[in-house]
Amino acid sequence: MTIRTTLSAGLAAMSLTATLGASTALADPVTVGLITTLSGGGAGLGVDIRDGFQLALSMSGSDAIHLVVEDDAQRPEQAVQIADRMIQSERAQILTGIVWSNLAMAVVPSATAQDVIYVSPNAGPSQLAGAGCTPNYFNAAYQNDTMHEASGAYANVLGYENTFIMAPNYPAGIDALTGFKRYFEGSLAGELFTQLGQTDFAAEIAQIRASGADSIFIFEPGGMGISFMRQYAQSGIDLPIISAAFSFSQDVLPAVGDSALGVINTAEWSPDMDNAANQAFVAGFQEAYGRLPSVYAAQAFDSANLILSALAAADINDLPAFRTAMRAADFDSVRGAFRFGNNQHPIQNYYAREVVSVDGVLTNRMVGTAFEDHQDVYATDCAME
């Protein structure tokens, strides 16, 4: 018995009640529930996702979507409760917005089993990309490993041969190091796990200094990355750093400061990408919110446009047709080329970006390509075609 069949059998009773009121008239806007983190230390990411999503709606001028936003406080139980309410009492037919993998894992399996479409604007846990893939789940961002795989691949391009790697001791951190090692061809000068939420990295920096490494790969999202970079800048060590975009995205760059200058980080998007959709997005975001967009805002912007394109092509009450329209991904992505693989995760390019200062504002500039048309490794475990 696979996970998916058991799920749908078990949840049949719930979905029955949930879909009772779902068959709304055609012209009515479709309710989209956006659950994201708007309070606490991780609020910056959620705010960017919300703003990016809303910007896409207002720029499109479409009234096909009725958007409901709520704060999950970065707690899985809270996210589950909000999802239940949006589905059961506000009749949301599409959910999106979650920043963190662990919250996505709490919400997505049961929401999709209730015939709700979930579009991920950020997290991409491996469980949902491989054997646990499901027709109602679309990832419009990236699968978690791929960002770090891109770092590993680009470290080869840069000629790094002896790299020190470090990440927090939790599943996403372990995945990050695994992803990096999957493509990196050099040797490891050391491998360290830090504590989640750790703020003092003196002990780790001392070991980096003593390791004889020629470069460092880190995955330290949020405040951890800010703390690490500040302390690293004071350490007098001058090794190049490579990383996935998370610690060097627009939401944290101002707080990291000039010590981030020159850091190479990998992502599927960069603010200076040369396509019309992206230029309109970056200009529109700056005008609406007075700051540069982060990669999270870009992904949310794409998520909204993806949903709008599918709503224009098919009726959501005809789920198979709507899913086909979603899979077509017929919209102008700010990343340029964008298409879905069999597991409904992106097949896309990954770029190397360098942190630069433009008119005194820190931002990222594209310097190279790490992967072209890259797909995650879990897609082969997914039974969908």
């Binding site: 230390g41 796990f193 003092d200 780790e204 200094r209």
Partner: protein, 305 residues
């Protein structure tokens, strides 16, 4: 493992311990004098860091920021003492726990409203930037300065309590509240002052540490819990205990993170050792706390009260 690396880790442990001392000293003082448990102490640490970052950014001067951060935390402390906490001295600890828990929610949300949801930038002052050569190892100057700061504040606090009139009153307050009121001391003003002093110490720690850490909402609570461990080990109400406990926690935590993964590296594959070592290192100080509890239930330096 070289001697230089070992020495560097010991210094790191001392530095972490001295910052924890600044946090714990305020907490333990407030408990010793007023008998109040303040969960919102971590929020004052956060306020110190945010105001320091904002003032340093506005003025371009770290030292002005440091003063602003300390002053803002002390002022916030005095404000919540006068408006809320003053009414809770005679209540049981349960009411104090709930009220200060509520204060965490309020202060975190107000900070987010005031400073925005994104982390703030705060840089080390240029004069303390870079590293110094200690003979066998290069060590960040700012961290060395933090050790100096911590020792200076500890000395100042000791002088204040041992040598000044305010100190006499504080010590008297710890021993017998009715007595000093009878002696004509304005007990309300004394309490506000002590609370503001504790808050200022927390704010100072937040501002100092903010230059090498992320200045963000929620930064105070992990430190608060470490400070609790420090106080339990050192003994509640004892400044000396806070110092010893803070140094023990700082050094043992740092050395655990450093040595445990290496230890396991002798028995198993590297990435597995790193994982298990890190997991055990995160529990080490709690094991220390449990051990102290078994031997000395009232901490290493129990206050007389």
């Amino acid at each position: 493992m070289t001697a230089a690396l070992f020495l560097e880790q010991v210094l790191n442990g001392l530095q972490l311990g001295l910052m924890l001392f600044l946090m714990s000293a305020g907490l333990t003082l407030v408990f010793g004098v007023m008998g109040l448990i303040n969960l919102a102490h971590g929020s004052l640490y956060m306020i110190g860091a945010f105001f320091c970052a904002a003032a340093a950014a506005a003025s371009g001067n770290f030292w002005l920021g440091l003063i602003a951060g300390t002053a803002a935390a002390a002022a916030a402390g005095a404000l919540i003492e006068v408006t809320v906490l003053r009414r809770l001295y005679d209540r049981d600890h349960l009411d104090q726990v709930l009220a200060t828990f509520a204060l965490i929610l309020v202060l975190s949300e107000l900070t987010k409203i005031g400073f925005g949801p994104f982390p703030l930038f705060l840089d080390v002052p240029p004069i303390l930037s870079g590293t110094v050569n200690l003979g066998i190892a290069h060590y960040p100057l700012y961290r060395l300065a933090l050790i100096g700061f911590g020792l200076a504040v500890a000395l100042g606090l000791w002088l204040l309590i041992a040598r000044t009139r305010l100190g006499i009153r504080i010590r008297a307050g710890e021993n017998d509240r009715e007595m000093i009121a009878a002696l004509g001391v304005n007990i309300r003003a004394l309490y506000t002052l002590v609370f503001a002093l504790g808050a200022g110490l927390a704010g100072l720690a937040g501002a100092l540490v903010g230059a090498v850490q992320s200045v963000q909402v929620g930064m105070g609570e992990p430190v608060l819990i470490l400070a609790f461990v420090v106080i339990v080990i050192g003994g509640i109400g004892s400044i000396k205990g806070a110092m010893v406990g803070a140094l023990m926690v700082g050094v043992i935590d740092t050395m655990g993170r450093f040595l445990l993964p290496r230890l396991f590296g002798h028995f198993m594959e590297q990435s597995q050792a790193a994982g298990i070592g890190a997991a055990l290192a995160s529990m080490l100080i709690y094991v220390l706390m449990a051990a102290v509890l078994v031997i000395r239930p009232k901490g290493l330096f129990p206050a007389h009260a």
